[in-house]
């Protein structure tokens, strides 16, 4: 964990960038936009063969025993290429939930499989518009789940989920095995189809308790996921910003490059500023994962990253002129992904509230 990346962390970053750059294919990603239920299996195969799902899993459980900083480094690289599958960060969240709250049997059963990429973990906490519903409609009783979670990211292909579910003692965090016929998935048409958002109807899905204080446990996991996602958002923002900068330097108007016009220079300088604030926030949060104030750092990272990615993708399209809004220019991949990542794990309204409550408690 480091505020400045050490040699091995820099190597991970470079290696990820190198591998993913070769694998990146805008035509393939655009094809995925036009179909429902498909994700980029090639991308996921790379993740698995590189051992990325194992990053934060303890070595004893078949993982690499690294931490949130390394998870973030990989997520950032994935964000740059608008990765075609959601499972790396959601799987990390599930591994963390099992590692922190699961019993020995659960850890032995699931962590090696998650680390090896044999099992894809997903996160099903939200209901309706609430990222952390106080009274979930999904119920957990006698080791079984009933009820429906809507628009679950990765829901179309996840194998194992952490779920916030009601019990007679209040909401609990549970681990649900999705492999059986008890779970029905209804894929939703979305503007970013490779995220595999699906309504998941549980009709007796087998599950086990992870934490009885479900809201607190879910909040902890959501903060970890927020920081990993913030890195992915920063990666996306960096990539779309780089496209805008390159285009502004190469395209001429009125006899000079677009990048010589102050309106464009200042727009790009503002983007740079937002991205640096987001990058530093994300890195700082990952570095302070064990700090008592981690929750506020995570919220700050999430808020800054969402703002940076949205703004950078919006402004890049503006710099590109009419071309920016075309299917061909590929910028809409970022436009879509920026919004998808912004709403998947709690929008900024939610994270602002989380942050303010943290700060209120302190004063």
């Amino acid at each position: 964990m480091a505020l400045i990346y050490d040699e091995s962390q820099r190597q991970i970053a470079e290696e990820c960038d190198r591998i993913l750059k070769n694998a990146f294919s805008a035509p393939a990603l655009k094809q995925l936009l036009e179909q429902s239920g498909a994700y980029d299996t090639g991308f996921w195969d790379i993740c698995v063969s590189q051992g990325w799902p194992a990053i934060a899993v303890p070595e004893a459980a078949g993982g690499l025993g690294l931490g949130l900083s390394e998870q973030g480094i990989v997520a950032q690289a994935c964000g740059k290429v608008v990765c075609g599958a959601p499972f790396l960060n959601t799987g990390y969240a599930v591994s963390e939930a099992i590692g922190r709250f699961g019993d020995a049997a659960a850890r032995e059963k699931w962590l090696p499989a998650l680390a090896a990429g044999e099992v894809k973990g997903i996160v099903a906490l939200a209901e309706g518009r609430a990222p952390l519903p106080k009274a979930p409609a999904v119920r957990f009783e006698d080791g079984r789940l009933t009820g429906t979670k809507t628009a679950v990211p990765g829901g179309g292909a996840g194998d194992l989920a952490i779920v916030l579910a009601a019990t007679c003692d209040g909401p609990a965090l549970v681990l649900a095995d999705l492999s059986g016929a008890e779970t029905r998935r209804h894929l939703l048409p979305t503007f970013d189809n490779s995220r595999l958002a699906a309504d998941m109807a549980f009709a007796g899905t087998p599950a086990q308790l992870l934490a009885a204080d479900g809201i607190q446990a879910a909040r902890t996991i959501l903060c970890l996921l927020a920081v990993a996602t913030a890195h992915e958002q920063v990666g996306g923002a960096e990539a779309v910003f780089a496209s805008a900068r390159a285009y502004a330097l190469e395209r001429y108007a009125f006899g000079q490059p677009l990048a010589a016009f102050q309106s464009i220079k200042h727009r790009l300088a503002e983007n740079y500023t937002l991205i640096e604030l987001a990058r530093s926030n994300a890195q700082y949060a990952a570095h302070n994962v064990d700090d008592p104030h981690f929750a506020r750092y995570a919220a700050a990272a999430r808020i800054a990253a969402t703002e940076a990615y949205d703004t950078a993708s919006r402004d890049a399209m503006q710099v590109f002129g009419g071309l920016g809004g075309t299917w061909e220019a590929d910028l809409h991949l970022h436009q879509r992904r920026a919004r998808t990542l912004a709403v998947e794990i709690g929008n900024n309204l939610f994270w602002e509230d989380e942050l303010v409550e943290e700060l209120r408690r302190a004063c």
Binding site: A259, Q262, Y272, D353
Partner: protein, 404 residues
């Protein structure tokens, strides 16, 4: 890791020392003082620091400093600014003019100036900006004319925005010695005695009522050639050297305004017709956004200091601090007045640390001083992002032929 702990210990010790003097020299002691009394307290504070070994922290020992590094200096400054000590008068003096004369001059005289400046007994100002040259520093016009017989110089013209000139003993100055040369080549650099005949300092009253900046007029002021720093025509280079000589300044993510937790505390204690302010989503959004921004700046600061400690070159992203913190402070301070309702117009001036009205009313100056937002954006665009320079009609043209 060991180095980090040593800095932490240094910071702890400094904080304890600062705490012990906060009541007598910090914000509470300054309340209600006249400007003269406040300056006197400032001088006393500088002398106290000098005797305690907290002066010129990163200056060499032979210059009267402590011989420590930038990290110790930053640590001390970051702690010092939390207490509102009267240090503003001396920041420019010790940040640029005195270090630059120590670089260009040798001997007892300059060492005595350094000692007096560190103790707050003497203050130096920086006479760079002019009515026609602020952001465009090399556009300055104040004339320096050399007497061919004696080699000495006469200064004629005006400087502007000179901080604390009314209290200063000496200054550093850039002048135009030859308007027929290219803009950057016709400049020469001097140190000057602020009491030299023909020098007039006129304070400028700012919107917040303070008058710490000045116009300074030079009317046929004699400056011996021995007071020239660098070669004739080398003034722009020495000016740039001056601006970067102290590379590491403590920055404040709150833009040198009141801290965000004061805002949270004020909002948490107030309501509008029974509705708690802190339940208002607009208030919550402001708090969260400002926190995220300030935390990002803190993160950049922490990372850069760590890099400095490891002997690495800090990243360029530190350049965003002044830009974003000053304008965020302006908007947040405006918003505080909203939250107070009609009574938001009341103003009982206090210190920088807790006066939101002062923070708001002085914010426009904060967004100009040390680089306007627009110049900073240009700097980021050109220096960091490698984008082209703006169209520059003054390039390659003798100064006296540049369109005015």
């Amino acid at each position: 890791m060991r180095a980090e702990t040593a800095i932490q210990q240094y910071r702890e010790t400094a904080r304890r020392w600062l705490e012990a003097h906060a009541a007598t020299h910090g914000a509470p002691a300054r309340r209600g003082l006249t400007p003269e009394q406040d300056l006197a307290l400032g001088r006393a504070w500088m002398a106290l620091k000098y005797d305690a070994g907290y002066s010129g922290i990163n200056w060499p020992r032979e210059h009267g400093g402590q011989g420590l590094g930038a990290l110790e200096k930053l640590a001390f400054e970051e702690e010092e600014m939390k207490f509102g000590f009267p240090t503003d008068y001396f920041a420019v003096s010790l940040g640029m003019p005195v270090p630059i004369i120590l670089r260009y001059l040798t001997g007892d005289w300059v060492l005595e100036r350094a000692r007096a400046a560190l103790r707050g007994e003497e203050i130096w100002c920086q006479l760079f900006s002019e009515p026609s040259g602020g952001s465009d520093l090399a556009g300055l016009r104040l004339r320096a004319t050399q007497d061919q017989a004696t080699g000495d110089w006469r200064l004629d013209g005006q400087k502007l925005w000179t901080s604390y000139a009314q209290y200063c003993d000496y200054g550093i100055l850039v002048a135009r010695h030859d308007p027929t040369l290219l803009k950057h080549q016709g400049l020469t650099y001097f140190w000057v005695d602020m009491r030299a005949p023909g020098t007039t300092v006129r304070p400028i009253k700012l919107a917040d009522g303070s008058d710490h900046v000045n116009e300074v007029f030079f009317d046929n002021v004699l400056v011996p050639d021995s007071q020239r720093l660098g070669p004739v025509g080398g003034g722009f280079k020495v000016a740039l050297e001056t601006l970067v000589i102290e590379r590491h300044h403590a920055s404040d993510p709150a833009g040198f305004g009141p801290a965000l937790n004061l805002f949270v505390r004020e909002a948490a204690a107030a309501d509008v017709d029974g509705v708690p302010l802190l339940e208002d989503g607009r208030v919550r959004e402001r708090i969260a956004r400002n926190y995220a921004l300030q935390n990002g700046l803190r993160a950049i600061q922490a990372r850069n200091q760590l890099m400095l400690g490891l002997g690495m070159e800090p990243g360029p992203e530190g350049a965003v601090n002044k830009l974003v913190s000053a304008r965020a402070r302006q908007r947040l301070s405006e918003f505080v007045l909203d939250l107070r309702g009609a009574a938001g117009v009341t103003w009982e001036p206090s210190g920088r640390l807790d006066d939101w009205v002062r923070s708001w009313i002085s914010a426009p100056t904060g967004r100009q001083a040390g680089g306007s937002d627009e110049m900073l954006l240009n700097t980021i665009a050109e220096r960091i992002l490698g984008l082209p320079q703006d169209h520059r009609p003054d390039k390659g043209v003798p100064f006296n032929q540049i369109p005015k």
